[in-house]
Symmetry: C3
Subunit: 340 residues, 3 copies
């Protein structure tokens, strides 16, 4: 695929500086671009790389800088880069049809593509242009909307519903039982049947190894446009609002309700039965132990130190209360002295 700058601008807007007939065929970073590449400057700290980049053209915010032979000026170069990159790298569409090794007991649209050794359970409905790659297992009564793509080795339990244009990565598990048990007097656990479903909206991306449990009573719900990175755990009856994005290794305990347009940093944990407002940002490594009522950024990770400094400082954490007591005592004694 090869595109001229003026073709790109005709489609996505922006202003060309230099030759509109410059042809590019690939996206590259400022530093790694080769001649013929289109690079982008999204983070001002890389501005100095404009002077030395070999890119044929650069997407950047005004004002234009010396260096590249050509440029596309736009107020949002990263978003612009995303769109051009999508145009240059169309998602490959496998031939429609069911591979002879697949076991299909449900209803598959003729335009869908079902890969080798896939199982589709009875009562399932697979929409148009859906792609299900090798070794996926789709339980009974699952609905998968048009244009959704499952990478290989995905497991979807019975009754789950996925919207349109979703992307689910390998090793993801959707609809396993939530973790619910009552306890007998002797400590043994009695399983609570998990009879709810997982309902996933449109344009959702689910990362490799991410697990989303079905509801206990009622459903687990993932809103439109939600993006979940790898190895995220979503407990039963969680609700996640539209366009919320979570980085890898996040854990969400059961019945947490998370707002729209939130971001959650890697390794954060959100406890159960909490409410998180819209537009909340949780920093990486934070344990959220109570509800958050207002938009904003919330953090709770500790700094790291060279090991010896860590030993010296962090062992004091066991004695913070005593330190506070000592300060109070000092204040009282000092006040007594000052009085005299």
């Amino acid at each position: 695929m090869a595109l001229r700058l003026d073709e790109i601008v005709a489609r996505f807007g922006g202003e060309i500086v230099g030759a509109g007939d410059t042809v590019i065929s690939r996206i590259g970073t400022l530093e790694g671009a080769e001649p013929g590449d289109l690079a982008f400057l999204a983070n001002p700290r890389y501005r100095h790389q404009l002077a030395t980049t070999r890119a044929a053209a650069v997407i950047m915010a005004p004002p234009v800088a010396d260096g590249p032979a050509a440029a596309i000026l736009t107020p949002q170069p990263y978003l612009y880069y995303a769109r051009v990159a999508q145009w240059l790298n169309p998602v490959p569409v496998p031939a429609p049809g069911v591979h002879p090794s697949a076991v299909v007991e449900g209803d598959v649209a003729p335009s869908a593509s079902i890969g080798p050794n896939v199982w589709v359970g009875p009562g399932s409905t697979i929409g148009g242009q859906v792609v299900i790659a090798a070794n996926c297992s789709i339980g009974e009564g699952v609905e998968i909307g048009a244009g959704t793509r499952l990478a290989s080795n995905v497991a979807i339990y019975s009754g789950s519903r996925l919207g349109e244009r979703c992307l689910v990565h390998s090793g993801a598990v959707i609809g396993a039982d939530g973790f619910g048990f009552a306890r007998e007097a002797d400590g043994a656990w009695v399983k609570i049947p998990q009879v709810g479903r997982v309902l996933i909206g449109n344009d959702v991306e689910i990362g490799a190894g991410t697990t989303i449990d079905r509801g206990a009573l009622g459903d687990t719900m993932i809103g439109d446009g939600v993006k979940l990175d790898n190895q995220i755990q979503v407990g039963h009856n969680v609700r996640i609002g539209a366009h919320t994005a979570m980085a890898g290794c996040v854990g969400i305990a059961g019945s947490a309700v998370i707002g729209a347009r939130c971001t959650v940093g890697g390794g954060a944990v959100i406890l159960g039965h909490l409410n998180i407002a819209d537009d909340v940002n949780v920093s990486a490594g934070t344990l959220v132990t109570k509800s958050i009522a207002g938009a904003g950024t919330y953090s709770g990770a500790v700094p790291f130190l060279e090991h010896g400094d860590w030993l010296k400082n962090f062992s004091r954490l066991r004695h913070l209360d005593a330190m506070a007591d000592k300060i109070r005592a000092l204040e009282q004694r000092l006040a007594a002295l000052e009085k005299n």
Copy 2:
């Protein structure tokens, strides 16, 4: 399925308030119940919902409250709900037999059900009423006890043993090599062969994406009735006592020995070669760095704050030792002043 309250009480005990011939067909929450549902009041903070619930009847502890048309009184409503819910939602039993696409080289009981594209390795023994769903891989010489169920896409390595009535969720991996290496002078690692097994008791539940490594020498052992949530990592030679339950994303390093009836909160990490007593509760997000000799609750997570407050307060952690020194110096100077 539909049950009368007097049928339920005949089976599970408790006292009926209202009409014993009330028919229910589903369990619901107090808030979400529809007419014909049986709800339950397990957490006193939802008591006010009794006044408005549409449930036909409510399981609750005495005393009975106004609101619902009928009730079952029991001292442990959550446990009671679990049992009724199990009765109302029997686990579906697939037809016995081996799917023609499965590759079975081991010994499968006639009453077992082996799904599409499953592999069962030579020398394996699959017990009666076992269910193995699509795309599972069972290595050589594996033993799976009667009534155990594997969801789709589970991987079990050679030599593992699972007891009876276990439930293993998709993406779980049982019996992979433990992480054991010796180091050469130049930093290169030499693998320690992992020749132990994984031995799992009866009535164990293993969550989606949970991994349990085989022993290095000797075996990794999971006791009867243990419940492991999703994405838990259990290192080689770990032993977990009966009826211990762990929430999602917990990590247990090699050779940790964990007692019976413990609970471990989400995202907690237990380091290796530790001993944890029976009846220990570890809070979510806690890093357990040394053995715990007595029952009780142990915690180690930090609070989260609005980001600005976090910056101001948590940066002090690098200087706690200096703060303690300053307090000591103040105490000495103050004592000197007081002496004069």
Copy 3:
């Protein structure tokens, strides 16, 4: 398999104490060894077990101790044990060939072994002596070097390259999309196509459920001899230097560059776009939030406490800044008093 001590020493060096014709057939721990076993003493804290071990011989560092009937003296007993254990426990080699249920569209060396229900995509190249176990999915254009072994249910995306003699455990996912999105004004996310690859060196071990994302632009690179435990997440464009080892549940965000011969403890998280020097040790549970320029050990986890003590002490974290202010005020008031 049975070996005489003098055969072992002829191969690996060391000095025999006792009868060189002592025959051993298995490795055991000092405590668990049975007659006929070879045990080892690597950790001095188990030295007292020499007196009571039933092992036929013990690998240990000089000086020899009373107790065992025979010994092999070597300066590095753990490394020696690793080598003897490998000799005693050769990795089983499955018969070469492609299982009839596998779907192979790529190029497989005649000496490779492809298990049941495996899919190998078009354009892939599978080297000699490679083992791919049941239900693995290998995308298009993947290259797998000679002697590499994949356990069951591994997913490898298109374009990934694995070196020679690697070992990949079940549930691992290599080459899924990195987590990259640009944001529109209304909060919706626009996907950045992830067009890089995953390049993995020789002698790499990848644990169960570990996920390694492909590069966005450019490649994710794992150096020779790297050892990754279970459930590790490696983001796009990460580079990991040779012989670095990471324990379970570690998360590495995108574009982090990690040096050679590092160790990372369980549950640690390394944020994105950081540089970690060679020979850095990160302790378990540490969140690495900035680059580390020099070799050494770095820590950042908090101690755990009995719950009541934790409540008392850790709640003070919200007020550390106020405590520091109080200390400063006390110092000033005290200085004023001392002046008078």
